[in-house]
Subunit: 204 residues, 2 copies
Amino acid sequence: MTGADKNAINLRHKTRTAKHKQVVDKRIAAAKVDKGLLLVITGNGKGKSSSAFGMVARTLGYGLKAAVFQFIKGKEEVGERAYFVRDPNMRWERCGEGFTWETQDRDRDISAARAGWEKAKEALADPTVHLVVLDEQTYLVNYRYLSLEEIMPAIEARPAMQHVVITGRAAHDVFVEAADTVSAIRDVKHAFRAGVKAQQGIDL
Amino acid sequence: MTGADKNAINLRHKTRTAKHKQVVDKRIAAAKVDKGLLLVITGNGKGKSSSAFGMVARTLGYGLKAAVFQFIKGKEEVGERAYFVRDPNMRWERCGEGFTWETQDRDRDISAARAGWEKAKEALADPTVHLVVLDEQTYLVNYRYLSLEEIMPAIEARPAMQHVVITGRAAHDVFVEAADTVSAIRDVKHAFRAGVKAQQGIDL
């Protein structure tokens, strides 16, 4: 490539990106609303809870309070919990007793879900909590452990600037419709299906 | 519902979940391989970088080392960086100068990408680093700032137990094929399109 060719490419790049900047800047200027968001991270792919925990790190990074309620996962210690609970702004509640096929006791699962939800409602009523993560909450609805009528009013009545993230597969339409942001993670490929064990730092 | 109905439901639940547990346990037992994974988190939806940062928290939670290379994002301070850099096991490099439409200077973007990639290669050669995040690296290839021939050998020759996460839209097929786990995040709904500004703790 000659120097003249390169200059031409660079000039085209500059013109094109300058035009693009106008479009982007206009869109950013149009986004004026500040509000507490409801985010739903669903789908079968890897990254739903991880993504919520990334937002926990962001929140704690500003010295703001975050609360995580894990509705399904059991009592085993995992990396993210070990890491975040060191922060005085973090509240972390393990409300579940494990997956249904681990407990095999529907009444016990329902009691655990209800007890967890009572705790989550405290955070959803507390304006000092900037972010509430309802991890794997979709299953509570899908398994009929809790009704949407029990869940939605607390989410809708939360403080105006509080963000809520709901994670889990197969999010109910009511969650999707109520949400400001919805991401559906598609499982294109997963190491587990190729015989790889859950890995520290990645899966737990 | 009578007590007898409830008992019948609970018994059915126990039988079904016990059967499911056999299937799950068998699958878990079959997953015997321990290896450093290559994960690709792509798609247009919200949650790609957040998900990588969740894995950073998991890694640091075990007292293991993590390294993040941000190839596009500019120099503004964000929550996740502020949070993680407090940890002595964290290396965080902001290699980008912002999006193309911000810099409007292709030569400068390419130099920044190359300098960043040289640093990332150090981490990819260091067996004490448990997790390497190549944040928004897909764009380096898509914009032709770096070739796959420059990138793939360093990823393939990394230490056997090191995990690598590549994030960014429109991941090249070569990344997808080389990866152990691929998640594609679909943008079902995004608050920004409804006029909501980027929110602390959620987007930055």
